[in-house]
């Protein structure tokens, strides 16, 4: 369900310029076209600048999803690198890196983003992505580091050492593939988080800049007239809510699917060989 929704969402966003009935930033006759309620011509109505809300939302989906996806990709990459190095090297380096991480974690993310964006105003979209990315990798990094540390003790990693593998090969070939599953889960959940965060920042007017539409900025535009034009806040709000739920559900489903305890090979289920032995050991009755 959630997968389907997410796929459809990405498709809608990708083909926004084809699918959108109007130019998202084009203003029609302000006198008659301003704040029209939903109709056949404008299914989601028009806003106070007489722009088509559906078109704006489709284009906004593009911005919201792109920002969230790229930011999470960035933070997952940083988190992976940092966590793998800390977990692999261990010892004092690890302790130092983790304390540094603790320090960064103690800074509230939203406040940091708000203060930076308030000073750097207007920030380009790329900068917004980078900012969201570099403030979001701490928890991923912790997760990776913990996984890497436990993998470090596993026989196949010791075996790789015993066979003369270089540290880089061990990290890339033996640690990285084995920590990927939880990172993918964390990243999926992270996307929902960043979509909401970006919407929040845009709502506050320090995220994406006018006239570029993102769900948050559409919400902001609508907030001026929410008493008279409910559709201006209802549709973007609903989109954010449903998308966040979809990504969270998808993340949970992924977690279940990728649970290492349920992977074949790592399971406690006896192999057929063991079952054979079991059979021969059990006295036959009757």
């Amino acid at each position: 369900m959630s997968v389907l929704f997410i796929i459809v969402l990405y498709l809608l966003a990708s083909f926004a310029n084809v699918l959108a009935p109007y130019d998202p930033n084009a203003q029609r006759d302000v006198v008659v076209g301003k704040e029209n309620p939903p109709s056949i011509q404008h299914p989601f109505g028009t806003d106070s600048f007489a722009r088509d809300v559906l078109s704006r939302m489709l284009h906004g989906a593009r911005v919201s999803l792109a920002v969230a996806t790229l930011a999470v990709l960035l933070s997952a990459t940083i988190g992976l690198g940092y966590g793998l190095v800390a977990g692999y090297v261990g010892g004092r380096v690890d302790a130092l890196m983790m304390r540094l991480l603790d320090a960064m974690l103690s800074i509230p993310r939203l406040l940091l983003l708000m203060s930076v964006l308030a000073l750097w105003n207007p920030a380009p979209l790329g900068a917004l992505i980078v900012l969201l990315g570099v403030t979001g990798w701490f928890s991923v990094s912790r997760l990776v580091r913990a996984e890497a540390r436990s993998l470090r003790q596993r026989d196949f990693v010791v075996a790789a050492h015993a066979l003369g593998a270089r540290p880089r090969e061990i990290i890339v070939r033996h640690l990285l593939p084995n920590v990927l599953a939880p990172v993918i889960v964390a990243a999926t959940l992270g996307i929902a988080n960043v979509i909401v965060l970006e919407a929040g920042l845009s709502y506050l007017g320090i995220g994406t800049r006018e006239p570029t539409a993102s769900w948050g900025s559409i919400l902001r535009d609508g907030s001026d007239a929410y008493g008279t034009a409910w559709w201006l806040m209802f549709f973007p709000g609903l989109a954010i809510l449903v998308t966040a739920i979809a990504f969270n559900t998808f993340g949970d489903a992924l977690r279940d699917a990728l649970d290492p305890r349920q992977l074949p090979g790592a399971s406690a289920v006896p192999s057929s060989e063991d079952a054979d032995i079991q059979r021969t050991l059990t006295p036959q009755r009757g």
């Binding site: 075996a159 015993a162 593998a165 270089r166 593939p177």
Partner: protein
Amino acid sequence: MAEPLVRLRDLRTYFYGDGPVARAVDGVSFHIDAGETVGLVGESGCGKSVTALSLLRLIRPPGRIEPGSELWFEGKNLLELGEREMRKVRGARIAMVFQEPMTALNPVFTVGEQIAEVVRIHAGASKKDAWKRAEEMIQLVGIPSPEQRAHEYPHQLSGGMRQRIVIAMALVMNPALVIADEPTTALDVTIQAQILELLVDLQRRLGTSILLITHDLGVVAETCSRVIVMYGGEIVEEAQVRDLFASAHHPYTEGLLGAMPRVGERRERLTTIPGTVPPPTAWPSGCRFRDRCRYAWERCATEHPPLYQIGAGHVSRCHLADEPERRNHPHEPLVAQRTAETTGGVAR
């Protein structure tokens, strides 16, 4: 006499944890000749595996090989090599077979890739050549249809086959020494025999030396020419296999043999050695085995026994070599007496 392949001199590997120093390996010296199979025997916690890992310099902090230890291999002291040179030794000249074939293979790569990786690391071979070599090795370790098996993941193979793959990985570079750390412990009894046969067969064909670590003297009898018995981080007895089985000298070895079932002998119960290995942070003074020994007397508490020469190539770390008449007066070991006291003096 030619210089042996491996010569350990006074190997000491200590672990510096939060508490007192753990002297896991405490002054071990032995040698392995080219093409020889040597058994390293002892119960859990007596330093076998740490000895093996020390040979490859795989001891991680807080563990450390103490200065003064010497580890000669093919004319080089491995302890003086840089990490880069050491990597050229690992896997290529000295390889290791691990105990658990379940965990010794990376679950996310096919077994062919994992063998090929070793070839690529050491021989710098192309992907294609490495893969071909991997298939050859899978064939060599007796797995049918290697082209097909090479593409399978570890979880698709049985325990016995996985261990064959681990052996293939160890032997692919034709190393001079293979360290096999309890290679059959995790396997079914029927598979154990096959794997041992395979190891012996490959050793004959490739002329590799094997250091076989085990707690199973039966395995030693089948495969090794010489055996080293470890206890409390040191060697307590070393002999040719037939000498050890015919005339074990050290009471610990005697105990190990007594704990082993033998064909053609009717016994209701196998004898056990009472007690456990003391922790490596607090080895007892004098003889480290004395608490569990049936013959221990005053001298054992005060004087740490040296390795006495018993016969040709046969040494034993026991004062009985000096005072053999003591063997006629066995008694309850100290640990057994203590247990008896604490459980209210119930006689056995």
